[in-house]
Amino acid sequence: MVGPGRQERSWIRGAQAGSASDLEALFREHWPRAHRAAFLVVQDGAAAEDIAQEAFLAAVRNLDRFDRKRPFGPWLHRIVVNRAIDWARARALRRETAAVDAGDEYDTGDLGTFSEGVAAGLASLPPEHRAVIVLRYLLDYTPGEIADLLDLPRGTVNSRLRRGLDRLEELIDRERR
């Protein structure tokens, strides 16, 4: 992973010393991608907002322990994506218990401008696979970095990527035809 830029190091240093303006700069820089990543994994607007918010709160509470030489993004994304996976798993369990109709299985109503094909494809993947796709193609991590972030063997990351991609490419192609 590439180290943080000078600007980010300065924001982190300032935030650690209690500067609200530096924290705000860091927050504005990282919020959109953290929020989007959570949304793509959980596919629920309210939950995504809660997860991104909680991840930032956790990050702020542990700010003093953060090593400024490391980039802030992976630290935050690890929290966001792991919490999003936990939430999505919990929801799946609740749905099993509630035995809802199959048609209600995934809520894609909040996806906005996202192509229907990709939306349906992502929704049809298990949350762990969604997380790997999001880390690779939205947040631009390499498979090795993803393996580190999720504490997974690299082979597992690659197989999840391959399977997820096959499904998504198929749906995107179908949509184009």
């Binding site: 924290l23 939430w87 906005g112």
Partner: protein
């Protein structure tokens, strides 16, 4: 940046719903978390390696000299002080003067400032009279006023046809409102003149308006909130129908009313004007006013993470940025403000603990084994069923 694939382009196009507003909502909380933490000053952070060296020197000194051993003793004392911040196994005292009325799974209990506890007889639940001279208690079809200072002696009692619950004593002591099934009834403070106020109402506990002349807020069957003058039975105002309220709480001066529901919190003025409304995620929640103010503490549960936060807001037209007070995994079940307004008691269900938090500051005390201390048991019973369900810290009693 690696070369862009069609999938990457699709993913990059996505915006999470309500992205800008979500950012605006999140920032005050993140900012508050920065204020709430105890920042380690720069010099202290840089002194960590030096401290490690100093500790090594102390250990070495202890091994070779009596003064060194004394120094190690003082370090051990400092660590012991830190341990005292951990949860105490039993409630040995309250951090502020006053008496707690605890509605536990097996009925009402009193906790005095010295930590002594006493069960108030075979009743289901209880509520303070204004100066804590009496407690109004209920059980099945029975309503009674008992004297907590005379071994729970019964002063008067009434029996009704349905299940009696959620009795509340008016601030002047001359009226008691209670629910008899779905019927809202009012009786005089001496147990006479019992009568129906409304035939069918919602299940929310009614709330007397402090400083007013027998004005009572209650919820209707269709989810309205109504303020009624109980002597004339005249409706002073009512809201539009909404989802059922779970809690009605007045500020101490009677000028603000908070209406908590499953998914929202609304703030009203005493004349029924809505100041604001905020949406809440479904989950445990609760509110308690800070004494002599329109500020209040709210439990905010985040279902995505399973954590509960305590945040401070104000029941004014501008509710202000939420100030973050505390956070923990699981549910916060109960809230009560100490009579001197300095401490907040929070029931932390998942940990079977009570947390005493200073409202202005970072001090916190925790007491564990709460269920057991109030005669309950968690064997075969979910903790949330066994944990005390409500508290009131007197006097004046917290709502």
């Amino acid at each position: 940046m690696r070369s862009e694939t069609p999938l990457q382009r699709e993913l990059q196009r996505i915006q999470a719903p309500d992205e800008i507003d979500a950012l605006r909502r999140a920032w005050p909380l993140v900012r508050a978390a920065l204020d709430a933490r105890e920042p380690i000053a720069w010099p202290r952070r840089n002194l960590r390696p030096l401290f490690a060296v100093a500790v090594a020197v102390v250990i070495l000194a202890a091994a070779v000299s009596p003064p060194g051993r004394a120094l190690v003793g003082s370090v051990r004392d400092a660590v012991g002080t830190e341990k005292k911040m951990k949860a105490r196994p039993a409630l040995t005292s309250l951090p502020a003067p006053g008496v707690l009325l605890v509605n536990a799974s097996n009925g009402p209990w009193l906790v005095r400032a010295d930590g002594s506890t006493r069960r108030l007889g075979p009743w289901s639940e209880g509520s303070w009279s204004p100066q804590a001279k009496y407690v109004v208690v209920t059980r099945n079809h029975q309503l009674a006023a008992i004297d907590p200072n005379a071994m729970g002696a019964i002063r008067w009692t009434l029996s009704r046809s349905a299940t009696v619950h959620d009795a509340r004593w008016a601030p002047d002591g001359f009226r008691v409102a209670y629910l008899n099934g779905r019927e809202l009834r009012v009786v005089a403070g001496d147990g006479t003149g019992d009568g129906v106020l409304r035939a069918r109402v919602g299940t929310t506990p009614p709330a007397w308006r402090p400083t007013a002349d027998h004005e009572l807020a209650f919820s209707t069957l269709d989810g309205r909130i109504e303020l009624v003058q109980t002597d004339s039975a005249e409706t002073l105002w009512r809201t539009l129908p909404r989802e059922p309220a779970t809690q009605l709480v007045w500020s101490e001066d009677g000028e603000r009313l908070l209406v908590l529901s499953e998914t929202s919190l609304r703030a009203f003025t005493a004349d029924g004007r809505k100041l604001w409304e905020i949406g809440l995620p479904v989950g445990p929640s609760g509110v308690a006013f800070v004494r002599k103010s329109h500020r209040f503490v709210m439990i905010r549960f985040a279902p995505a993470t399973g954590r509960s936060d305590l945040v401070l807001l104000q029941a004014e037209a501008n509710r202000g940025e939420p100030r973050f007070l505390y956070s923990a995994p699981g549910d916060f079940g109960t809230l009560a403000m100490s009579p001197n307004g300095m401490w907040l008691l929070v029931g932390w269900v998942k940990a079977d603990q009570w947390l005493f938090l200073r409202v202005e500051g970072v001090k916190a005390k925790a007491v564990s084994n709460i269920v057991e201390q109030f005669g309950g048991s968690t064997a075969g019973v979910p903790l949330e069923k066994a944990f005390p369900k409500s508290l009131s810290w007197c006097c004046p009693a917290s709502p």
